[in-house]
């Protein structure tokens, strides 16, 4: 270290160093305590969920085995032959028309679910933000409601709605709406809580009511973040929607469940490849959009 210390340590340095040491000791003690608590919790969690090194070592090879089974048997000579030839791509994806339609349906479920879910989230997030909630009572009500929406898994809602509305995408869409409302409502509320208060104060000082404050003091600041979160949720919902079919709530999931339970190995891999491709495509487009949004937001200041 090339740190040259000019002269003997002065009183200020000595005092500063001892204060620093005391503060650091205090901080380290606190961190150590929390680390011990965290380690205990992790150990307990591992024990309760039976996540032992032995179980991991036993199971991992079997994952590989499954993947090996679902691999299609493709042959180079006939790769581009028609669907009746074994070993061709067309034979692997022999029901591409049906699957493509189901995947399209899945993405439409995600779109509708995200739109209406985000709408509900938008309506509730201001009441669920600590700095804007009109009364503590409203705040807690909004928060608890959003919590409920978010903590019950989508698939559970989907099961209930399938029972009520019958098998089909409607049940899935409703399930997505509720989950999206809960998840985005919470994120939106946090964005609102982090917003600068000065603009709000300006509107309040001008005699604006609660809605004025939300509309003019907060919304312009948070709108880009809201949109960005909504797009992110759309990506997540496309993935989520592709398993809702497991319980009969529409989309590609039903077909996937079918081929998995009947051990149609090659078809499993075909559907999974299709899902991965479409989700990746949607991810790419939405990521582009989000970056565009943020760049635009930065340019506008």
């Amino acid at each position: 270290m090339d740190t040259a210390l000019p002269g003997p340590a002065s009183a200020a340095v000595l005092r500063g160093e001892s204060d620093f040491q005391a503060a650091r000791r205090h901080r380290r003690r606190a961190s150590l305590l929390w680390l011990v608590i965290l380690a205990l919790c992790l150990l307990l969690a591992a024990r309760l969920s039976e996540m032992t090194p032995q179980a991991l070592a036993d199971g991992v090879p079997r994952i590989g085995e499954y993947f090996w089974r679902i691999l299609p048997t493709l042959r180079w000579e006939v790769l581009f032959a028609n669907w009746e030839t074994d070993g061709s791509l067309a034979a692997w994806f022999y029901r591409l028309d049906k699957w493509a339609w189901l995947i399209f349906e899945t993405s439409q479920m995600a779109l509708l679910g995200t739109f209406f879910g985000t709408l509900i989230a938008f309506c509730l997030c201001f009441a669920a933000a600590r700095n804007l909630a009109p009364t503590p009572w409203v705040f807690h009500l909004a928060r608890r409601f959003l919590e409920f929406c978010r903590t019950v898994p989508e698939i559970v809602f989907a099961l209930i709605f399938v029972w009520a509305f019958g098998i089909g995408p409607l049940a899935g869409i409703l399930a997505i709406i509720i989950h999206t409302a809960g998840a985005n409502g919470k994120l939106f509320a946090e964005v609102v809580e982090n917003a600068e208060t000065s603009a709000m104060e300006g509107v309040r000082a001008a005699g604006g009511n609660w809605f004025h404050r939300v509309r003019f003091g907060v919304l312009p600041q948070v709108a880009p973040n809201f949109l960005s979160y909504a797009l992110l949720r759309f990506e997540i919902n496309v993935r989520g929607a592709s398993v809702l079919g497991f319980v009969g709530a529409g989309g590609i999931g039903e077909e996937l469940y079918h081929v998995i339970s009947f051990n149609y190995y090659e078809e499993i891999s075909a559907i999974v490849v299709l899902i991965i491709l479409s989700v990746a495509m949607i991810d790419l487009v939405s990521e582009r959009l989000r970056h565009g949004l943020m760049a635009g937001g930065a340019a506008r200041g």
Binding site: D2, T3, L5, A12, V13, G16, N194
Partner: protein, 277 residues
């Protein structure tokens, strides 16, 4: 000796700095004055290479620093410490750590980086930081968070950070524009002190002519990216100001004030939130 030769910076069709030639001997305190958009900030930022020049050269001690890359560039930046109008401290970190940021590029190698990421500074480095803070009566607040300090205190912490870089020059971009007169004086006194006692070259943008006259050995006046005046404070008379800018001194100060009015600038603080993307 810092030498600027034909230094030019264009932003699209706008030429912010136009063919600036200056030689600044070591140990001088130079004030750069000018209206909004005169190119003062761009000039300073080009010297530190936060903004890349479009044309021209920057030389220090006979060495061309215009094309430096990577580690060499970072060493040059350590040599010419920046002071910002908005202090640019890490608000959520304590004052001591903020000052120790000045040491980061003095910690060589991979281990130097790794240890600094864990804030593992040596006792000698801490002593250096506290000594610098003590010099400006800030040793008492060393363990407080930066955002608990007043603007004047924060700017002096920024000066301490600059000093810990052990720089050859200090570039101060409107160091007192966000401060009230009393705090402005303590900050200007601090800059003057490091210039006189430590022999550091100080190059500072100012909008008050009187502050520039009072503190600087030399004044450079800019207008539309060009240097219009370069001389001693005594030579920059009211008549000269009127000749350069076509307005009286009072009107000039009013216009220059607009340049640093925080409300007219984009917000410097990044908005919180948005953990995605």
């Amino acid at each position: 000796m810092l030498e600027l030769q034909g230094l030019t910076r264009r932003f699209g069709a706008v030429t912010a700095v136009n063919d600036v030639n200056l030689s600044i001997p070591d140990g001088q305190m130079v004030g750069v004055i000018g209206r909004s958009g005169a190119g003062k900030s761009t000039l300073l930022r080009m010297i530190n290479r936060l903004t890349e020049p479009s044309e021209g050269r920057i030389q220090y001690g006979g060495r061309d620093v215009t094309g430096l890359r990577g580690g060499e560039l970072r060493r040059w930046r350590t040599d010419c410490a920046m002071i910002f109008q908005q202090f640019n401290l890490v608000q959520r970190l304590d004052v001591l750590t903020n000052v120790l940021v000045g040491r980061l590029n003095h910690r060589p190698g991979l281990m130097g980086t790794v240890t600094s990421l864990f804030k593992m500074f040596t006792a000698a480095e801490r002593a250096m930081a506290i000594q610098a803070l003590d010099r400006f009566d800030l040793a008492e607040v060393a363990l407080q968070r930066a955002d608990t300090l007043s603007g004047g205190q924060q700017q002096r912490v920024a000066i301490c950070r600059a000093l810990l870089q052990q720089p050859r020059l200090i570039l101060a971009d409107e160091p007192i524009a966000s401060l009230d007169p009393r705090n402005a004086k303590t900050v200007m006194d601090a800059l003057r002190q490091v210039n006189r006692e430590d022999g550091l070259t100080v190059l500072t943008n100012l909008h008050h002519l009187n502050t520039a006259r009072q503190y600087c050995d030399r004044i450079v006046a800019m207008q539309a990216g060009r240097v219009m005046f370069d001389g001693t404070p005594a030579e920059l008379t009211s008549a000269r100001v009127q000749e350069i800018y076509g307005v009286t001194e009072d009107e000039f100060e009013e216009q220059a004030q607009e340049a640093v009015n925080p409300a007219a600038r984009p917000p410097l603080r990044t908005k919180p939130g948005l953990a995605v993307a």
